[in-house]
Amino acid sequence: MADYLTSWLLALVQTALFVASAPLLAGWIKRVKCRLQNRRSPPVIQPYRDLVRLFRKEMLLAEESSWLFRAAPYVIFGATVLAAAVVPLVAVRLPTSAIADVIVLVGFFALARFFLALAGMDVGTAFGGMGSSREMTIASLAEPALLMAVFTVAMGAHTTDLSVVIERILSHGLMIRPSFVFAALGLMLVAVAETGRIPVDNPATHLELTMIHEATVLEYSGRHLALIDWASQIKLMIYAVLIANIFLPWGVAVQFSAGALLLGAMAVSLKLAVLATVLAVSETLFAKMRLFAVPQFLGFAYLLCLLGMLSHVILEVGG
């Protein structure tokens, strides 16, 4: 019983840590990016300040907006936090990841995106509808690739439970799996598209020709905007943790001892820092692509994930 309670407590702490450190990751990416572009960077904690400022500000609601517009930020934030609870950050074998597997995780993302698109259309401005339509187009292309990557990983470990997957990979030791290489690359491309990073979308600008995510949240202000921003930072962190912990699972705590947990926390923050640096470098190197090139980009991601699955069947179990 005591074990049961500790594990739930740990799961709650881990989720809280996840949600609390997501803005830090965003700040770190911004800092590395500024350094690479020879600009002076804002302090790493700037995203927290922005969130606090937005929470304090007055909310403006459009006259035509319905309850949906007001409910959407809470639904989006709630779904994203639930998704974060499923992903093992520091330790595996937590009860939250046993309740919901990786397909549910994809479902949480879909739920959040559905409400984001509805909210974009609710006020009835031209930008909102356009943003929603673009968001759904990209999502419909990214989701098959995401699921394919997830299935590749699941087939390797014979389960869709994320923490069991990580545990299996850890117990096998160092193994070069062609399927994982492809799945990791495909997942990175999907992550870039889904979190609205540079080659696909650039939420830092307000350019009507290219905006996707920004167009859907253009009407939001104050607390609502803060929740949506926070949710998208958490989403970025979820993808980063997925890539870091599935494909390079070393350091993730298997026991609940203090030392193992501390090691896990340190390992995951190191991996995230490196991954964020890679993201910042790639954002500095590549220019934003045309909207019509995005389907090709995502088609390539799908192909990578498909090749991952095929190479798992052909090279790793076949014959």
Partner: protein, 226 residues
């Protein structure tokens, strides 16, 4: 049934390289610029040479080192260089090939991989080598080279497709039987080199007579045309 855990690290590396060779075939299908196509082809040569060297290390057949060197020299350096120069000389480095649905062609390629897996299954059961799973991959590389030749109209692309078919055959020989006899290998290598040079001459001829390298135009040739 090969268990991945039963393989040592260099055998796992061979599997990874096999997957990467397959990936370069897909990358060739995706490229629209001729220069990039030649570059990807060169990378396929590099991967092929690395695989051969690794197989030589695993199997202990030292003659495979020579053929790895030969592959690297010919398929990763010399032939891509010849093709690269040709593309530059014909002034096509900025040319973009426009053709049908590229994503559809790639998905067709993916189904070719599945097809070759099923075709190769009985062959794989006969072999006793640890790297036998890669036979399906080499067959797929051959079929993808053919797909590249069918899907594109530009003569240079078709030549690259032809060369990558040869790469697939060579890969099959290396991974399924640990290499052909040295004489055969040398013969094929120089045949391919001669083919590359002959293709260059033919390109210049086609270009001189119909002013383009689009092979569809060859159908419309007639005596009466000025």
């Amino acid at each position: 049934m090969t268990d991945l855990q039963g393989l040592d690290i260099s055998q796992q590396l061979i599997l990874l390289l096999a997957a990467l060779v397959l990936f370069t075939s897909f990358a060739m299908l995706a490229q629209s610029r001729l220069i990039n196509l030649v570059r990807v082809f060169a990378w396929q040569g590099v991967l092929l040479a690395a695989t051969t060297a690794l197989v030589a290390h695993v199997s202990g057949y030292s003659h495979l080192y020579i053929s790895a060197l030969l592959t690297f020299g010919l398929k990763a350096l010399l032939i891509p260089w010849v093709l690269h120069r040709l593309v530059l000389r014909l002034g096509m480095e900025r040319e973009v090939e426009s053709e049908g649905n590229r994503t559809l062609v790639q998905l067709g390629g993916a189904s070719l991989v599945i097809f070759s897996y099923y075709v190769a299954l009985p062959v794989v059961r006969l072999s006793t080598l640890l790297t036998r799973n890669t036979i399906a991959v080499s067959l797929a590389v051959v079929l993808l080279g053919m797909l590249l030749m069918i899907a594109r109209k530009e003569a240079v692309t078709q030549v690259v497709g032809f060369m990558s078919i040869e790469n697939g055959l060579f890969f099959a020989a290396v991974v399924s039987t640990y290499g052909m006899p040295m004489v055969v290998e040398l013969g094929i290598a120089f045949d391919v080199l001669v083919a590359a040079i002959l293709f260059g001459v033919v390109f210049l001829q086609i270009r001189a007579s119909i002013d383009t390298l689009d092979v569809d135009r060859l159908n419309r040739l007639s005596e009466s045309e000025p």
